[in-house]
């Protein structure tokens, strides 16, 4: 019972904070007389969300689609690279500087290149989402695999375990907590990637919708786009949090230790 009450208390505090932010925002706009062309009130934003929903919905679906496809590509490549780099000291030392270099490039800068190669539209958005989400996954998976206790590796080696045996039975399960932590970061980053690409070079997606809305000074609709993005981001984050606690509950034993 205490656990449930505690959970309610923690959740209610964060819900209260979110509502509080919106209330303060609403009141500040009303009291300060801020024009809705500069900063619309939350109530106006929600109103325009409802008003334009039929128009927003396909854009939201498009953004969700590009983000998830890009993210999936990023996860697959990220795991492959992470396993490769984490399994060998040489690969780790060799590839790490290159990875850091690539990850330091602002991803906005590569969108024009993708547009040049693939034309404007869905493909650059997917690729940008993929490339932006690869790095955190590679780094985390590689760390999880590279930090297997040497004693445990010795035990496995005296059992004549092959590299594959060790990877499958020890390294991969061990890197799961790292992997899921990186998924939560990567999925929010993937949204950044796809929206940036849509803003620059697409005629579909939330990013594009916000561009069009701002050029017609429909500021509440611009903000409605932000709300949609925030909602999608939070939803996917929550999804991976749940998956994480299912798969890697053993790594968070403090939460489970309560009988």
């Amino acid at each position: 019972m205490d656990g449930i009450l505690d959970l309610v208390r923690r959740k209610s505090a964060s819900i209260a904070l979110i509502i509080g932010v919106f209330v303060v925002w609403e009141l500040a706009c009303l009291v300060g007389g801020i024009s809705d062309i500069v900063l619309p009130r939350p109530s106006q934003i929600i109103a325009s969300l409802i008003e334009y929903w039929p128009a927003i919905q396909p854009h939201a679906a498009q953004t969700l689609f590009t983000t998830l496809v890009g993210f999936a590509i990023g996860v697959v490549i990220g795991i492959l690279f992470g396993v490769g780099i984490g399994s060998s000291r040489l690969a780790y030392d060799t590839a790490y500087p290159l990875l850091v270099g690539i990850s330091s490039i602002p991803k906005v800068a590569v969108v024009p290149i993708f547009v040049l190669w693939f034309g404007a539209g869905t493909v650059p958005a997917i690729l940008t989402a993929a490339i932006i989400s690869i790095f955190p996954i590679v780094v985390n998976v590689a760390t999880g695999i590279a930090t297997v206790e040497p004693e445990l590796e010795d035990v496995m080696k005296t059992l004549k375990a092959s590299k594959w045996d060790i990877l499958w039975n020890v390294s991969l399960p061990r890197s799961m907590p790292y992997f899921f932590a990186s998924l939560k970061v990567a999925v929010t980053l993937a949204f950044v990637g796809s929206v940036v690409a849509e803003t620059v070079a697409s005629n579909r997606g939330i990013g594009n919708m916000m561009m069009v809305a701002s050029s017609t000074f429909n500021v509440p609709l611009v903000f409605a786009g932000l709300f949609i993005l925030a909602g999608l981001g939070v939803g996917l984050y929550a999804l991976f949090s749940i998956a994480e606690s299912r798969v890697t509950g053993w790594a968070h034993r403090k939460d489970l230790a309560v009988t």
Partner: protein
């Protein structure tokens, strides 16, 4: 010092031969199970090169329980790693069952001070891990994991006092219990050779003594060849049939003597004069090996 301070290829004494008679040895006494021939190990290159193990020869017979003691950093663990084929000697050869190491496939069990149980597996699944890896169990694992292998793991767990803990996870166990499970994991595939690197080092004295007794029972039941690295002289004298004292780096074997207290040995025995005398003798050897900074009780008996 009455003992010859020399690296000796030991000749099994009568006591050991008697204890082995219960199990027909696969290797004749003339040919040791494990033999080091002029093995040395160096780490690093050039100026930074460190000699971890000086030229060492040593013979271990099947069914031996050998303890390696010595000052820290003396190469005890290096010796263990050589036997486990985790490390290649810089010079010399390690022979197992008469052939160069690696040529004869033997089953090895290993346990370190750090229990290294996998936190995402239950204790039983942790114990069964070697069966998943080691031939010939490997090919039968899928078929027998819920039957024979499971029973085998449970039986071992019961033997070390962990009956009923098979479904628990490692973090639900105390340090001593995890170390028991670690021993089970090292033994479940019925190894020909057991390598123990200070397995009881991190435990409190009472838990440690309890585990010594369990270890003794396990060994008396199976007569597996054991190589035990330890800092604890009482532990060495309690468990082993033979104690090798190593010098400070670069390690070499200073003294190699049999321990012939009757088995089963009891903890009380470790306070009897003979046992204490052996401990003192070992201690003075190690103090001397460290450079003699301690108070040396010369000629402990």
């Amino acid at each position: 010092m009455t003992r010859a301070l020399a690296a000796v290829a030991a000749i099994p004494d009568d006591d050991m031969a008697a204890q082995k008679s219960g199990k027909s040895p696969r290797v004749s006494h003339a040919r040791p199970f494990i033999a080091f021939e002029k093995v040395s190990v160096r780490f690093g290159k050039g100026d930074k090169q460190v000699q971890a193990l000086a030229e060492t020869s040593l013979a271990i017979h099947e069914g031996d329980f050998v303890a390696l003691v010595g000052p820290s950093g003396c190469g005890k663990s290096t010796l263990l790693k050589l036997v486990g084929d985790l490390l290649k000697p810089s010079t010399g050869h390690v022979f197992v069952a008469g052939r160069e190491i690696g040529a004869t496939p033997i089953r090895i069990g290993m346990a370190y001070q750090n229990p290294t149980l996998l936190p995402w597996l239950t204790i039983r699944d942790n114990v069964m891990m070697p069966l998943k890896i080691v031939a010939p169990f490997r090919s039968q694992f899928r078929a027998k994991r819920r039957g024979e292998f499971r029973d085998r793991a449970d039986a071992l767990l019961a033997q070390v006092g962990l009956a009923g803990f098979g479904d628990k996870y490692p973090w639900q166990l105390s340090g001593g219990m995890m170390q028991r499970a670690n021993l089970c994991r090292a033994l479940v595939h019925e190894p020909d050779l057991l390598l123990l690197d200070e397995p009881f080092g991190a435990l409190d004295q009472f838990t440690r003594e309890e585990l010594w007794q369990i270890m003794q029972e396990l060994w008396m039941a199976k007569k597996t060849t054991v190589l035990l690295v330890t800092h604890d002289l009482r532990e060495a004298a309690f468990l082993a049939n033979r104690i090798c004292v190593m010098s400070a780096r670069p390690g070499r074997i200073l003294d190699d003597s049999p321990v012939d207290f009757a088995r089963p040995r009891s903890i009380d025995m470790t306070y009897e004069p003979d046992f204490v005398a052996l401990n003192q003798q070992l201690r003075s050897l190690i103090v001397a090996a460290r450079g003699g900074t301690g108070i040396v009780q010369a000629g402990g008996h």
